[in-house]
């Protein structure tokens, strides 16, 4: 029993130590998330810009950059969003949330399409991209993947055999079918 207590204390200490290290190291990053969670996205955006300036080599750079795109998307500044998206997708094509970056791009093009400015070929190429990965459904009818961004948005992609659904903050963002 005594031994178990000691073990528990050691585990707690180790965990606390690790948490402290990470808190001190990425305090600023956590601050951004806190700002976003409180609904102050503009402040979060400003902090993200500063963070990128001060920590160009941080492992959080892709996530922060993704959230900068999100910010431009949220304030309907699509030109800036596309410009950032282009840079993001070129730099991090294999990033786990790149599929959601493509989702944002697709959504922006859809909005442009309503204004007849976007070419249908571009949308089709993007749709091809969503369906480019192989999928093997053995027991389930679909497979899904989730992501929460620094701006506190949740994204979810659900892959069916012949369609893909993308959700943002629990709402259907868009759906594409074969």
């Amino acid at each position: 029993m005594h031994l178990n207590k000691i073990r528990f204390i050691i585990i707690i200490l180790v965990f606390f130590n690790i948490s402290c290290v990470s808190l001190t190291k990425d305090n600023y990053y956590l601050d951004i998330i806190k700002e976003a969670k409180s609904g102050s996205v503009d402040f979060a955006f400003m902090k993200m810009r500063n963070y990128l300036k001060d920590n160009p080599d941080s492992k959080y750079v892709p996530e922060i950059k993704f959230s900068i795109i999100e910010y431009y998307f949220q304030i309907n500044n699509y030109n800036e969003a596309i410009s950032e998206l282009s840079a993001y997708l070129n730099s991090y094509p294999q990033e786990q949330n790149s599929v959601f970056a493509y989702a944002l791009l697709y959504k922006i093009i859809l909005k442009y399409k309503k204004d007849s400015k976007a070419s249908p070929g571009l949308l089709r190429r993007l749709e091809d991209l969503f369906f480019s990965k192989p999928l093997f459904l053995v027991f389930a009818e679909s497979k899904s993947k989730q992501y929460r961004s620094a701006l506190n948005n949740t994204y979810k992609i659900v892959n069916y055999l012949d369609k893909i659904e993308i959700f943002r903050n629990g709402e259907l963002f868009f759906e594409i079918s074969l």
Binding site: G121, R124, E127, D128, F131, S132, K133, P134, L135, F136, L137, V138, F139, A140, E141, K143, N159, L161, D162, L178
Partner: protein, 676 residues
């Protein structure tokens, strides 16, 4: 009064008698001197002159009959005058001017190209040197001049009613030229012209003046049946053996329907703006014709096979080659662009043709093409021989696929009613993400050419260790139709797959195939294939669904129907049978892919693999065969998405496997799939 009248009559009779006696005396004198004259001419000019008869007429002057000139060493006459009168004009004599009038009924010139130049020009040059420098004025009229060319017996040129006036240093000639060229029956041009003759009359007027050794052609007017062409030029060193000619005709418009040669042979209509230039030594001047065709129409070939309309473009003739560039036209109502056509006029001329079909043609005929370009390079001999290349951009799935066909070593006997066609090698290539091709050899067929229709019957062609046979029908009526039927038996599957690049999984076997292409059908390509005693690599299934590695699965037979439409590439009812595996597949591809794969595998075979043995035991599956059914989906360029459909084995697995195991299996498979 009466005696006065009688005196007049007596005087007249006496005068006429004197004249007659004088004429007889002079004729006698001249005739007696004929030999002397001939000897003088022979010795002076170095040529052999012959004269049949020489007489004198007070009214018409010196009468020459049957005058001929031959080279001393040759027997053949070069110049022959059938009948001529030479007289002196009296009036100019009072002004101390010698003005000679010559009238020739018929003159024949036998023209031949010799080493130094043209024989008649050489004779003119040599005689001219021995003539006095001061020449009398000449007034020559020739009723008919026949120009017979030794080099080309099929060519006849006749000048009619020629009038030539030479006065001091000026020269004027007016004549009617009749050009007549008989096409050799075996020449390819004979097939294009409805007559066997090219006949045309041209009125010519030439005004020139002599300046030293040069004859300046100040004004040349050619009137071709109402079409007037004006030119000017220079005959440099015109008294030399081989003068240099430089003649240019101004840019002129010719109405084709006014030209007999075009009207008779081609029912030609339209306008041609053309300029003509002639440059070089007289014996071999180069002729340049540059012309713009505007709204021209022609009916070509003896049987009026080709109806050409709305021909517009630039046509040039140079160095015995016709060159048509950037032309657009309709042949039998089919729109075409000719980028380049080079056709020689020699006996075995070269032929280069590069043409394409405009977009309107594809739109009108609902053809899913963006480009169709044909290039032929060859020669016309007894056969039309050469190489043909066809390239097309075929629209599929919103993008262009590069399709090419190369027909090398073509020989077509175009002269016979039953035209035999042989082709050394054929290669059909589709260049997409991967290169797919079909290679054929030694094609033999009979071509039947009718207006708006080309049929290739009895096609036989060597292919993949065996042969294909069939027929091709092309109709150019509205809409254009192409129908090809090919049947092959016992083709070597391995080499077919290597070339067509359809699948590297079909390893061996003998393939029977039947293909029907009909551009008017919705499914424009349909076919079926039957493979006997083959082998297949089914390891692809192993890598995805962990089935055993079946790298060389033998099967007795496999059958599939396939079709291609504008929207869909479809593989229907593919069935494969082997003792351990039965496979059924249907597969459609357009932008998206959908299909169904049914597999029935022997449990005995599956149990050879530990993982499957375990799964079969867990599922308590006791049957001899396990049935799998998969739904397939995806995009044509993406990876396949697979859903394992409900079935007995799957149901039993789901029933007996805990959820976490199922999720683990899914996860492991995801890893495999991600690594693909």
């Amino acid at each position: 009064m009466k005696s006065h009248y009688n005196r007049k009559i007596i005087f007249l009779i006496t005068f006429l008698a004197v004249l007659f006696l004088l004429q007889t005396a002079i004729s006698h004198l001249i005739n007696n001197s004929k030999d002397k004259i001939l000897n003088y001419a022979n010795s002076t000019f170095g040529y052999s002159f012959e004269l049949e008869d020489l007489s004198f007429s007070l009214l018409r002057g010196l009468h020459i009959k049957g005058a001929a000139l031959t080279r001393n060493n040759y027997d053949k006459k070069i110049i022959f005058i059938k009948d001529a009168f030479i007289s002196l004009k009296i009036l100019p004599l009072f002004f101390k001017t010698l003005d000679i009038k010559v009238h020739i009924n018929e003159l024949s010139l036998f023209i031949k190209r010799e080493e130094e130049g043209i024989n008649t020009q050489i004779i003119f040059s040599e005689i001219n040197k021995k003539m006095p420098k001061h020449k009398p004025s000449l007034d020559i009229s020739i009723e008919k001049t026949r120009i017979i060319t030794g080099d080309n017996p099929n060519l006849s040129i006749i000048l009619k009613d020629s009038k030539i006036r030479q006065e001091s240093q000026s020269l004027k000639m007016l004549t009617l030229l009749e050009f007549d060229y008989r096409l050799a029956p075996d020449s390819y041009l004979a097939h294009l012209f409805s007559d066997n003759y090219i006949r045309q009359t041209i009125k010519c007027l030439v005004q020139a003046h002599i300046n030293g050794d040069n004859l300046h052609l100040d004004y040349i007017l050619l009137n071709i049946e109402g079409n007037e062409i004006i030119g000017a030029g220079l005959n440099k060193d015109f008294t030399g053996k081989n003068p240099y000619l430089y003649i240019n005709f101004m840019h002129s418009m010719v109405l084709l329907n006014k030209l007999t040669v075009m009207k008779r042979n081609f029912k030609a209509q339209g306008n041609v703006y053309f300029s003509l230039g002639l440059k070089g030594r007289m014996d071999a001047p180069s002729i340049n014709i540059s012309s713009e065709l505007s709204h021209c129409s022609f009916v070509i070939a003896k049987n009026r096979l080709f109806n050409i309309e709305e021909l517009q473009g630039k046509i040039e003739y140079q160095n015995n080659l016709i060159n048509l560039n950037n032309a657009s036209l309709r042949i039998n109502n089919v729109h075409l662009n000719i980028h380049r056509l080079i056709a020689g006029l020699s006996v075995e001329p070269e032929l280069k043709l590069e043409l394409s079909f405009p977009q309107e043609f594809f739109d009108y005929n609902s053809l899913p093409l963006n480009k169709l370009r044909v290039v032929f390079e060859g020669r016309l001999k007894q056969f039309l021989s050469g190489d043909l290349g066809v390239s097309a951009l075929y629209i599929r799935d919103g993008r262009d696929l590069d399709m090419q066909a190369h027909f090398n070593g073509i020989n077509l006997s175009f002269q016979d009613a039953e035209k035999n066609l042989t082709v050394g090698s054929i290669e059909l290539i589709k260049n997409d993400d991967k290169i797919q091709k079909i290679s054929l050899r030694d094609l033999k067929s009979q071509v039947y050419l009718e207006k708006n229709r080309i049929d290739l019957k009895n096609i036989s062609v060597a292919a993949y260790d065996n042969s294909l046979s069939g027929e091709l029908k092309i109709s150019l009526t509205d809409p254009a139709a192409l129908n090809l039927r090919l049947k092959g038996q016992g083709l070597d599957l391995k080499s077919v797959m290597q070339d067509t690049n359809i699948s590297d999984k079909l390893l061996s076997g003998r393939l029977d195939v039947e293909i029907v292409f009909d551009n008017l059908q919705k499914e424009f390509l349909q076919g079926n294939c039957y493979i006997k005693n083959g082998s297949m690599d089914l390891n692809m299934l192993g890598s995805i669904i962990a089935l055993p590695a079946l790298k060389n699965t033998k099967f007795q037979n496999m059958h599939a129907d396939f079709s291609i439409s504008k929207q869909l590439v479809s593989l229907k009812d593919l069935e494969m049978h082997s003792p351990d595996i039965m496979l059924g597949l249907s597969w459609n591809t357009n932008h998206k892919v959908d299909g169904e794969l049914k597999l029935s595998m022997a449990s005995r075979l599956l149990k050879q693999y530990a993982a499957f043995k375990k799964l079969l035991n867990i599922a308590k599956f006791k049957k001899d065969y396990v049935d799998f059914s998969f739904l397939l989906a995806g995009t044509s360029r993406g990876n396949t998405r697979i859903l394992w459909q409900k079935g007995e084995f799957k149901a039993k697995l789901k029933e007996n496997l805990p959820n976490w195991v199922q999720k683990r299996i899914e996860k492991e498979l995801d890893k495999i799939v991600d690594s693909l």
